[in-house]
């Protein structure tokens, strides 16, 4: 397992664990970011410390600090 943020841009992985606050975790899961789901890191924006991810056809942006707490098995 490695943090989602460590994926290469364009690479995918299978989400394993979400280690964030309860409400944020619930929010992510309700958007489809569930353990076992495939997630793609679309891009990292270094200036803003943000990432764009794709999951179930939906594009989301998160801060890097939050993406570091989502753990994936790289594909």
């Amino acid at each position: 397992m490695s943090p989602l943020s460590k994926l290469q841009p364009g690479a995918t992985g299978t989400l394993r664990a979400l280690d964030c606050s309860r409400s944020f975790r619930r929010r992510l899961m309700e958007l489809g970011l569930l353990p076992g789901t495939e997630v793609r890191l679309v891009r990292r924006v270094s200036v803003g410390d943000l990432v764009e991810i794709e999951c179930r056809g939906c594009h989301l942006s998160l801060r890097l600090s939050e993406a570091e707490r989502l753990f994936v098995d790289p594909a």
């Binding site: 569930l34 924006v45 939050e66």
Partner: protein, 718 residues
């Protein structure tokens, strides 16, 4: 079960075309009210296709679970809680390119046992033929109809499906997923604590609302009207070792995936265009440069295009005032109408062109999907100030007017973020400050160039930059002192870019501007009338007799144009004299000691008092103070000359560039706007925050102007 007046709720994720569909279903016949207890607009309209039926637009949401009072509105409208009527049917708008996430919401609605009709949008954007609607309908046990929010295709079919479902609610009410043994126990433990008013003693509704409580209540939520026993019961259950949330959400998605597995058609949409555009637009260098370039163009357009419209408004009100003046006998009532009422309303409506245009641009940015990218790009800047990217839209709206900007904070999920944004938004340079800046800069600063650029233009741009910087710094300071606590993690959906729909942008523009008119007009009216009374009474100049004598003398010695000129000079001097003796004049003298260290005299004091109604009233008040007729504006040459030649008692000029700078800083920072304070009072339901806002902004303005004026003098400027 068909009722006399069926109520249909229209629910769906954000960005799925729900609002366009609502507009198609109801036409222009919409009623906008507020949800009870919270200040969020509630849109309801008559269902055009079904006699007697009405449609309510449920706020866009990804899930019915909620944490804030605003998020709670979705469940309130869908389930009929908290004083909302219970809908007879829910139309769930489903984006066919994002089926699983959209069906997740539809499934939650279905769990409540209420009949559902799926309105499937964006089918033209799918790579294949889009989802097989017959299969979707049978797998989801609900009618599914393809509709287009863009051209209204399919609306007839949707209406037919809704009508049929109302006439014969035939679907299985128990369509849901099976609760595991422990989860069923959790639900059984919660159900007895559901309040009676929720009308959920047993059945699917009880199960659904128990699950809702388990997922929504967590001790940090800001939900209201939740009985303590329900809170306690939920906390006990969700505090266990089992991961209830994960279990529930996984089970729902598993159910959704089962439905989707039966639809063999390709529903994924390629985002190649969007991804290519984002490679540039989200690039840290190009993205920012493009955004700044675009903003420059927007503001340039804002100021150029609004000019003729503003003139039109001014001419219109001028005409109205003179028409009333001609039609009514001279006296108190006529003056009250023309100077107080018409002048007051005019001073509000005059900002409308700029506000309309800015909201049009914001609407286009939102509708095209670009606004989400801007929030993304701006997150870094906003984070440094203790805010998040979502605060950007309110801050930008603040360039038009603080009132719609304060209302725009309603989309923020945490009360802390909302209050913090609200407290700094009035620091942004709003449209009402512009005439004041124009007057001061035009009168007191040289027209020459500085390094090839016009000094006055640079100063004006500098004021915008200054106000934005101060707003961000103030947010940073407040977030570290008063509004501590973690900010909410940013989570933004980046929807695919779409061609914005003109009618949608126009409608959004009008709805937001109407909010401004509704909020501001009453207060400004009262304030301008109050101010007019302060300025006009006592009505007689202290030495009215001597003016009368001069008039008689002029009439005896002059005639023709010379006489008119002389008489108008005497008239203006008399009204200036009257003003000095008025209550406002006395007030100006009372506050003079406080503002003298900033370089202002009591006449400026009157102007500052006057600007409480609306900042731009400063200009017309200064016109009155200097004995010009009352129809001056910031471009009037005579008012500029008066300011340039005004002298203190010792003969030195009142208005030096340093005083001008100090005044610019004061106008930029002080909270001279009753309407803003009233809006904050309404949004926070307490006097605490408007009072705090007034106190901190005024203190900030005073100290900053003091530093500018006294510091400038120490450095030898004048």
């Amino acid at each position: 079960m068909s009722k006399q007046a069926p109520l249909i709720a229209l629910a769906g994720n954000p960005n799925v075309g729900k609002t366009s569909l609502f507009n198609l279903l109801t036409g222009s016949n919409q009623k906008v009210t507020n949800y009870p207890g919270v200040t969020v607009e509630r849109f309801e309209g008559n269902f055009i296709g079904i006699e007697g039926a009405s449609v309510i637009d449920v706020p866009g949401t990804y899930s019915l679970s909620a944490r804030s009072a605003e998020e709670e509105l979705a469940i309130r409208s869908v389930a009929g809680l908290g004083g909302e009527p219970q809908p007879d049917l829910v139309v769930v708008v489903v984006d066919s390119t994002q089926l699983s996430r959209n069906l997740y919401l539809a499934l939650q609605v279905r769990e409540l046992g209420v009949p559902v009709v799926l309105a499937v949008t964006m089918t033209d954007l799918c790579d294949g033929d889009g989802p097989d609607l017959a299969a979707l309908s049978s797998a989801f046990c609900a009618p599914a109809v393809a509709v287009s929010g863009l051209n209204g295709e399919g609306v007839d079919k949707l209406t037919g499906a809704v009508q049929a479902a109302l006439d014969a609610p035939s679907h299985e009410p128990s369509f849901s997923w099976e609760l595991s043994g422990p989860l069923a126990e959790d639900v059984a433990a919660i159900t007895p604590h559901l309040p009676e008013s929720w009308n959920a003693a047993a059945g699917p509704r009880a199960t659904a609302l128990s699950l809702w409580s388990l997922l929504s209540l967590d001790g940090e939520d800001e939900l209201r009207d939740i009985p303590p026993s329900l809170r306690e019961a939920s906390a006990k259950r969700s505090g266990s070792d089992r991961d209830i949330e994960r279990e529930v959400i996984l089970a729902r998605y598993a159910q959704v995936d089962r439905v989707i597995a039966t639809l063999k058609a390709e529903t994924a949409a390629t985002r190649r265009g969007t991804e290519r555009a984002d490679a540039v637009l989200l690039n840290p260098v190009f993205g920012f440069a493009l955004f700044l370039g675009m903003m420059t163009v927007v503001f340039q357009a804002l100021f150029t295009w609004s000019g003729p419209l503003i003139e039109l408004v001014e001419t219109g009100f001028g005409w109205l005032a003179s028409a009333v003046e001609a039609g009514l006998p001279e006296g108190f009532f006529r003056d009250l109408l023309t100077e107080g009422v018409i002048g007051g309303v005019g001073s509000v409506v005059v900002f409308l062109p700029q506000i309309l245009l800015l909201f049009l641009f914001i609407g286009i940015m939102e509708d095209s999907g670009y606004m989400a990218r801007v929030a993304f790009l701006m997150d870094r800047v906003m984070r440094a100030a203790g805010l998040n990217g979502r605060a950007f839209v309110p801050m930008m709206s603040g360039f038009a007017c603080a009132i719609p900007a304060i209302l725009a904070t309603r989309t923020m999920e945490r009360q802390r973020d909302r209050l913090l944004t609200m407290m700094v938004v009035p620091l942004m340079t709003c449209a009402a400050r512009l005439p004041v800046y124009t007057l001061i800069i035009g009168a007191l600063f040289p027209v020459d160039d500085w390094l090839g650029m016009p000094t006055q233009g640079l100063l004006m741009a500098g004021m915008y930059l200054f106000s934005t910087l101060i707003a961000l710094i103030a947010a940073g300071v407040l977030s570290k002192t008063l509004f501590t606590g973690p900010s909410v993690p940013l989570l933004l959906e980046l929807p695919p870019y779409r061609r914005p729909k003109v009618s949608a942008a126009l409608r959004m523009m009008w709805q937001r501007s109407a909010l401004f008119l509704k909020e501001a007009s009453g207060i400004i009216l009262v304030c301008t009338i109050g101010l007019w009374l302060l300025l006009s009474f006592p009505a007689n100049a202290p030495n009215a007799a001597s003016f009368e004598e001069r008039r008689v003398q002029a009439e005896a010695t002059l005639n023709g144009e010379d006489l008119d000129a002389a008489l108008s000079v005497i008239d203006n001097q008399e009204s200036a004299d009257q003003l000095q003796g008025s209550y406002a004049g006395k007030l100006g003298r009372v506050i003079e000691p406080v503002i003298a260290p900033l370089g202002y005299d009591w006449k400026i004091g009157i102007g500052l008092i006057g600007s409480f109604a609306a900042r731009e009233v400063f200009v017309s008040t200064m016109g009155l103070v200097y004995g010009l007729s009352d129809d001056v504006d910031e471009e009037t040459a005579t008012l500029r000359e008066k300011l340039q030649t005004a002298q203190r008692e010792d003969g030195s000029p009142v208005y030096t560039p340093l005083v001008g700078l100090s005044l610019l800083v004061f106008i930029a920072l002080a909270c001279q706007c009753m309407s803003t304070l009233a809006a904050v009072r309404r949004e926070t339901a307490t006097y605490r925050w408007p009072l705090f806002m007034f106190a901190y902004m005024t203190a900030l303005a005073w100290v900053a102007s003091f530093v500018v004026y006294q510091g400038g003098q120490l450095l030898g400027f004048s």
